[in-house]
């Protein structure tokens, strides 16, 4: 059964230096509060997995938490580059960052296969792309029925999954609504999971086929109101698109980034 913890305790207990950590939320419900707590606790040498690294990983990479990034699209959506990610890849600041990159389809399939307990995902993918040349995890298999050549990638089975969701009930069942992304898959694929929620309620108010993670499939739950800001939580608050645009200026420069980090992460406690 899921254990209710403070965000500080959940991160401290379940994320270790060197862990493989997948923080998901496909452009919705991005677990920023958890990312900031990981920065505050100065976790190091993490292998970070995320389809769209977004600002949360830009911040964590800039703060020195990551040694490796597995991803499929690393930009500031609709704005431009992730400057901290680029600085780490291109200049090795604050440390060299190893990258392993996929397409979205491959990563989505790899999470799905991880949730399904399989060692591999099979997809019709990477045809004609150079990505298999720079990612040795991409292989090709032959269909035993048709002879068709199909791509295969290893499933993703992280040590820890971190997601943000709208709410949990008091037994620890979690509701995710709206753009559900790959939240269910990453939690089921991981050895341990931390779910931050907007609120804990008596009744989830879930419809009959809603995306609900049962308490026994979740490791820890932490209440973190507005824990997805500047991303959004459908039904709670909107995406702060202006901040996404402002981030470009903040992150472009190491000093302004570090000042931002000090004011907005280190000198703020967990929610």
């Amino acid at each position: 059964m899921a254990e209710f913890l403070s965000l500080q305790a959940a991160v401290s207990k379940h994320i270790n230096n060197g862990d493989t950590v997948a923080m998901e939320g496909f452009t919705h419900l991005i677990p920023f509060a958890a990312g900031h707590e990981i920065i505050r606790q100065e976790k190091r040498d993490l292998t970070l997995i995320r389809m769209t690294p977004d600002l949360v990983y830009d911040q964590m990479i800039g703060a020195g938490c990551a040694k490796k990034l597995i991803f499929s699209w690393g930009g500031n959506p609709g704005v431009g580059s992730l400057h901290r990610l680029r600085d780490a890849v291109e200049k090795g600041w604050p440390n060299k960052l190893e990258i392993l990159e996929h397409s979205h389809a491959a990563m989505a399939n790899a999470y799905e296969a991880g949730a399904a307990g399989l060692p591999l995902a099979v997809l019709r993918g990477y045809v004609g792309s150079d990505l298999p040349k720079v990612n040795d995890q991409i292989k090709f298999i032959e269909c035993p029925f048709t002879g068709e050549r199909l791509a295969a990638v290893p499933s993703i089975r992280p040590d820890v999954a971190v997601i943000h969701a709208q709410r949990a009930d008091r037994k620890g069942n979690v509701l995710v609504e709206g753009i559900v992304g790959i939240q269910k898959e990453v939690v089921l694929a991981a050895k341990r999971s931390i779910v931050t929620v907007e609120e804990v309620v008596d009744d989830l108010g879930a419809s009959v086929n809603a995306c609900v993670l049962p308490s026994w499939a979740v490791t820890a739950i932490a209440e973190a109101p507005r824990g997805a800001k500047p991303s959004y939580a459908l039904g709670y608050y909107d995406r702060d698109n202006a901040f996404y645009k402002d981030w470009d200026g903040i992150a472009r420069d190491r000093d302004t980034f570090q000042a931002w980090l000090k004011d907005n992460v280190f000198e703020k406690g967990a929610a």
């Binding site: 496909f26 452009t27 990610l85 993918g125 045809v127 048709t146 992304g181 995406r239």
Partner: protein
Amino acid sequence: MSLEFTASEMMSVTAARALTNDMTCFVGIGLPSEAANLARLTHAPGVTLIYESGTLQTKPDVLPLSIGDGELCESALTTVSVPEMFRYWLQGGHISVGFLGTAQIDRFANLNTTLIGDYREPQVRLPGGGGAPEIATNAKEVFITVKHSKRTFVKDVDFVTTVGFGRDGKARDNVPNIGRGPTVVITDLCILKPDPETKELVVTSLHPNVTREDVIEATGWDIRFADQLETTPAPTARELEVLRDLKARTNAHHSGQQ
């Protein structure tokens, strides 16, 4: 009386016109999203727009900044998980058109959104593939819209993130279950289409007031022009009005919040 319009508006309007009412379009963020929604708000109200965030048949009132803005979900017929989107809807063969942008494009319509320079020591690191590599092969055809410049239109892309017709124009030959690939590229200067034989991109239509020299100047290879070179029809007053309204609504929406 002739209307005033920018090259960028010309590009969006032309890209929008490529879509028809009966298409199911997998929409990339940025220029493709602007064009697709303009089509929906003008001549193709029935066009089905799908974003990789899982939103099926969405009708946003403002343009999303990311492919997962709340607007997309709230106005969608339904929202599915991302694995389902890529497995059932894209790979399952339900997408008639993938509409993509790019950072680099070469003469065989290969797209590079990965990096400039060498992979291990990049000059410029770009965002990466995202949905494009499989959109380009699993959608029945692909439309591309991108601003025309020598930096963007290169003879050979540094990295084939997303295949057009490969380094030799033959990458789709004899590959089972693959879409037709790029059928049109719309820029702020012209329309290009692949040569039916060689698959090399050829200019088929120049936008109003654009010369051959403008295109040659902005293209990184020895660009060819179709024998029957057309002039792209200018935007109509209604197209411009709808586009400008859409962009104004979008700008107001995205800066209004902090």
